[in-house]
């Protein structure tokens, strides 16, 4: 049970960020080591094989499958256009003919004498991988992709929606407790990544999409609003492919929860800087959390500030946040770490910690229900 606590999410002012930018299939890398790249620059490209359209020529012509190849007007590898005749049959000394036409533009890939099926492959689909970050290419994986590196500030969220995007940071909420509401969203926020406080309302989110905000980073979001926004109840936390015209990064959790002071202060100090954000979340083995990367200008590189949380376990004095009811979202400091198992109100036996909460209350909480905060 040595790992019973949830390690805090990473929030750091300066760290080295490396991203592998890999193609889904092998292709061509179009940058080289040392190249400086911007988020929208393509770094690698490939062509996915086109869609396949099977046509049962034997059925259409009314001939046995083994006769199909004789009826083919095109052979394997030939290019054909949509509606072009690809096979023809004659019967009764040529009195009756039937024909079969291509359903798509493409190439004849296969003619089967067993099933009578002809496979037509459509045009290849071009795919590009972009740099995502503002940084430097530090490694090239031939035909597969590259590694892009930058020094920057880094904020890991707990949950997000939407994929990679970038924009200038604009702090909209007056503090980390404020609710980001419809009236806070103005047309000047177009193209920006905006920072909220404890909650973003559904109305604010929709207006943000309408004015063209690129992304929102906020403490909390209500599940009911998430369901209305997505149009379905999210069953499993695997996100990132939603095409909603905005990327949302929630830093604390569901409900109204103040953004951690440290996170809010860091983002506020970076107002006006470029932020590269990604809402993709996968809470399974191989966990992926949403993120905010704020690349630092050149010359500002140096030692990694790291986080206290990542190098230390729980100890007396550690700042923590409670991540489950009845103290959900409350922040405090560890005052004792008794090692024997203790009985909770639910009668479960668990390892606990004693904590002094921000409001002066003292509580005993299972270690599994807290996460470390960074100082």
């Amino acid at each position: 049970m040595a790992h019973a606590y949830t390690p805090g999410l990473k929030v750091t002012g300066k760290t080295l960020i490396k991203k592998r930018r890999i193609l889904p299939l092998k292709g061509e890398v179009i940058v080289k080591i040392g190249d400086k790249v911007h988020p929208d620059d393509a770094v690698a490209r490939t062509e996915l094989p086109g869609n396949v359209e099977p046509t049962n020529v034997a059925n259409i012509l009314g001939v046995p499958p083994e006769d199909v190849s004789e009826c083919m007007l095109k052979k394997i590898g030939d290019k054909v256009n949509k509606e072009e005749m690809i096979a023809k049959s004659k019967s009764f000394f040529g009195l009756f003919t039937s024909s079969c036409r291509a359903k798509i533009d493409g190439t004849i890939e296969n003619v089967s004498s067993i099933t009578g099926q002809v496979l037509l492959r459509g045009a290849p689909i071009p795919v590009e991988v972009k740099a995502y970050l503002e940084g430097e290419v530090t490694d090239v994986y031939p035909r597969e992709g590259v590694e892009v590196k930058c020094w920057g500030s880094f904020v890991q969220g707990i949950f997000g929606i939407g994929g990679e995007t970038h924009g200038e940071i604009k702090v909209v909420s007056k503090d980390n407790k404020a609710v980001l509401d419809e009236k806070d969203i103005t047309p000047e926020l177009k193209g920006k990544v905006i920072i909220g406080g404890s909650l973003v309302t559904a109305a604010a989110l929709n207006k943000a999409i309408a004015v063209g905000v690129r992304g929102i980073v906020v403490g909390g979001f209500n599940d009911k609003d998430l369901r209305d926004f997505l149009g379905y109840d999210l069953g499993v936390a695997i996100t990132g492919n939603e095409d909603k015209g905005i990327t949302l990064v929630v830093t604390e959790g569901f409900g109204q929860i103040n953004m951690a002071d440290h996170t809010y202060a860091l983002l506020k100090s970076k107002e006006g800087c470029l932020a590269c954000i990604n809402g993709a979340t996968q809470i399974r083995a191989g966990v992926i959390r949403p993120e905010v990367v704020i690349p630092l200008a050149e010359g500002k590189m140096g030692a990694d500030e790291g986080t206290k949380a990542s190098s230390h376990g729980l100890e007396v004095g550690s700042p923590i946040r409670v991540i489950r009811h009845p103290y959900f979202g409350v922040i405090g400091k560890v005052t004792n770490l008794p090692s024997p198992l203790q009985k909770l109100e639910s009668e479960s036996m668990a390892r606990v910690l004693e904590v002094e909460l921000e409001d002066g209350r003292r509580a005993v909480i299972p270690r599994a229900n807290v996460e470390l905060l960074e100082e």
Partner: protein, 615 residues
């Protein structure tokens, strides 16, 4: 195995590499029986920064060494074997579900026939079935190709046609797979394994179509004739390929494979094996359920036929929100005897999903979590019932008597009345603070009928015992009965029309100490009769029972028929469930709440004063 005879095996070390934890158990032969000695666990080390599964295995073994005092590893971290005195182990075996387990896609010609047989073979082997492609699944061929290409499974099982039947459709499926040119999930340097287990006459054409694009293996047809399935060759090939291709790609596994005395088996496959072994040895019908964070597995053996299903998105943490989405708020809240705010509840569920390792601290959180578990189990069992059926598409011989009881083909094999044993596993059941809670979750979710024994797997060692059963079924079953299972007791639930009935049955129990308990079970009543364990054998104590149901009710021998049987005890005892089958909660809210409290009180499920405060 190193040529050891089963009787020479006295010390057994077994591990299960799960996606988060690697669990090791040590079994020894002492005083004429095999018993669990200790268990150890350590975080699994498949992912960065370690990327070597053996590190987690060694850590778990080190904990076993520390707790047992037995030296198992030498200074080079090599497992010492065979055992001598307090050093080494005779055999080492392992299962694995790390890295997402085994993910498969299956294909067959007719969805309810060969495709379903293929699905059964894959599930039985311990795979997660990502999709089932069938010639009649109503998708257009290009959509099927897109799907195959998009999913990236670990392997594909292709079946179709009976031996000597038409070849066209199954070759068409092979053509679809070839056109999709699928890539394996892990690694890029090898071809995707595809197993062909279809019509023997189509083999040549399938080989010709696929051999250049995939790594093709051909095994016997899984449906050689319509009336019979032959799943074993396909299952065994799946296990071989799992080792050769999938495991070999996972970090550190090639090393681990060289340590074990039998092939590493996918965890759910091994759980299925132990349940089947127990059912066969004891001649009983059994259902096992493992409710995890992401998925719920249900295993059953009815009429000697083993079935397994995986409900991929029903679980208690990663998938908790999906349980909520699928069953709906009212179905969860019907099990909760107090009010909760909907908006707050929704946020709580989502917060559990994004922070899956948290545990319920307060009583209301626990009651709510167990309510969700009941629904997850119920939904998973519905899926299982619809899958565990007699073979579809088979012509059935009917007698004149059947004419009055016409049933559609593909009737479920699951029969709650003939079910003898229901075994629960997974954190929410195994770690419930009171065992009565586990018993009530199982009863409410599965609604057992007649006489049914209930048990939970204490520390989830069914996987290790499953592999062990392949080489030493005596050791596996002894440990299973004495150390793995926590016997909860027996549920007795009369089935039938409750109208105009005051008492469902009268009962008489002759207890092990000679005392007699006689009473009646009223409609809507739940009662508990304490019956624990036999001190000598430490197995559940037995009571001689006479159950006399009312004339329109059945407890196992037909309506109104008396049942004389032996009833097993356990940590909870004998639960007499008079709530009726089919079971329905009162519609009126205040009656529902008061009934829930009455039942919870009768079984002492929760702290009474705590529950009162929540109302």
């Amino acid at each position: 195995m190193k040529g050891l005879k089963p009787e020479d095996i006295k010390v057994i070390l077994a591990t299960d590499c799960g996606s988060t934890t690697t669990k090791a158990i040590l079994i020894e032969y002492r005083d004429g029986e095999y018993r669990l000695i200790v268990r150890g666990e350590a975080p699994t080390t498949v992912e960065a920064p370690f990327e070597d599964v053996t590190m987690g295995v060694l850590n778990a073994i080190a904990e076993v060494e520390e707790l047992s005092g037995r030296k198992i590893l030498d200074e080079n971290n090599k497992i010492l074997s065979p055992a001598k005195n307090n050093i080494g182990t005779d055999i080492y075996i392992s299962t694995s579900s790390a890295g997402g387990g085994l993910q498969m896609m299956v294909a067959g010609v007719v969805r309810s026939m060969t495709a379903e047989s293929a699905e059964r073979a894959a599930l039985g082997a311990g795979a997660i079935v990502m999709d089932v492609i069938a010639s009649n699944d109503k998708r257009l061929p290009h959509q099927q190709i897109e799907r195959i290409r998009h999913l990236r499974p670990d392997m594909i099982l292709l079946s179709g046609g009976i031996d000597g039947g038409t070849t066209t459709h199954v070759v068409e499926l092979a053509e679809l797979i070839a056109a999709a040119d699928p890539k394996p999930r892990l690694g890029t340097g090898y071809h995707l394994p595809v197993i062909y287990a279809g019509n023997i006459n189509a083999r040549e054409a399938v080989i010709e179509t696929l051999q250049k694009k995939v790594a093709l293996d051909v095994v016997e047809n899984i449906r050689p004739v319509l009336e019979r399935e032959n799943l074993l060759p396909a299952r065994e090939k799946i296990h071989d390929l799992f080792m050769e291709h999938v495991m070999a790609q996972a970090p550190g596994y090639s090393h681990l494979m060289s340590w074990t005395d039998t092939p590493i088996m996918p965890t759910p496959g091994a759980v299925g094996l132990i349940i089947k072994t127990i059912a066969d040895i004891e001649g009983i019908e059994a259902v096992g359920v493992d409710i995890g964070g992401a998925t719920t597995d249900v295993f059953s053996v009815f009429q000697g036929v083993f079935n397994r299903t995986v409900s991929a998105n029903l679980g208690m943490s990663y998938s908790v929100s999906n349980v909520f989405a699928e069953t709906g708020l009212p179905n969860v809240m019907r099990w909760v005897p107090f009010e909760m705010d909907e908006r707050d509840l929704r946020n709580r569920v989502k917060n559990k999903m994004i922070r899956p390792t948290t545990i319920p601290q307060s009583l209301n959180e626990l009651v709510f979590e167990q309510a969700i578990a009941k629904e997850a189990l119920r939904l998973a069992f519905i899926q299982h019932k619809s899958f565990a059926t007699v073979l579809k598409g088979v012509q059935q011989q009917r007698t004149i008597a059947d004419a009055f009881e016409q049933t559609a083909g593909g009737q479920t094999l699951v029969n709650m009345m003939t079910l003898n044993m229901l075994i629960g596993s997974g954190g929410v059941l195994s770690h419930a603070p009171r065992r009565q809670q586990a018993a009530l979750m199982l009863i409410d979710a599965f609604l057992p009928e007649g006489v049914t024994r209930l048990a939970v797997d204490s520390i989830f060692m069914m996987p290790q015992l499953g592999v062990l059963s392949t080489i030493h079924d005596k050791a596996a079953t002894e440990v299973f009965n004495k150390d793995c299972l926590i016997h909860l007791g027996t549920c007795i639930a009369p089935v039938g029309e409750l109208k105009n009935t005051k008492d469902l049955m009268s009962y008489r129990f002759e207890m092990p100490d000679g005392s007699v308990i006689e009473d009646k079970l009223g409609v809507g009543e739940v009662k508990l009769v304490k019956l624990g364990f036999d001190e000598k054998s430490s197995l559940p104590a037995k009571a001689k029972a006479i159950l006399n149901p009312a004339k329109n009710l059945d407890v196992g021998r037909g309506k109104g028929n008396k049942v004389e049987t032996e009833i097993s005890g356990g940590v909870v005892g004998i639960i007499l469930d008079g709530r009726g089958r089919p079971f329905q909660l009162p519609e009126d809210n205040s009656t529902r709440v008061s009934k829930l409290k009455e039942w919870m009180g009768a079984l002492d499920v929760y702290d009474k004063s705590g529950l009162e405060k929540l109302a």
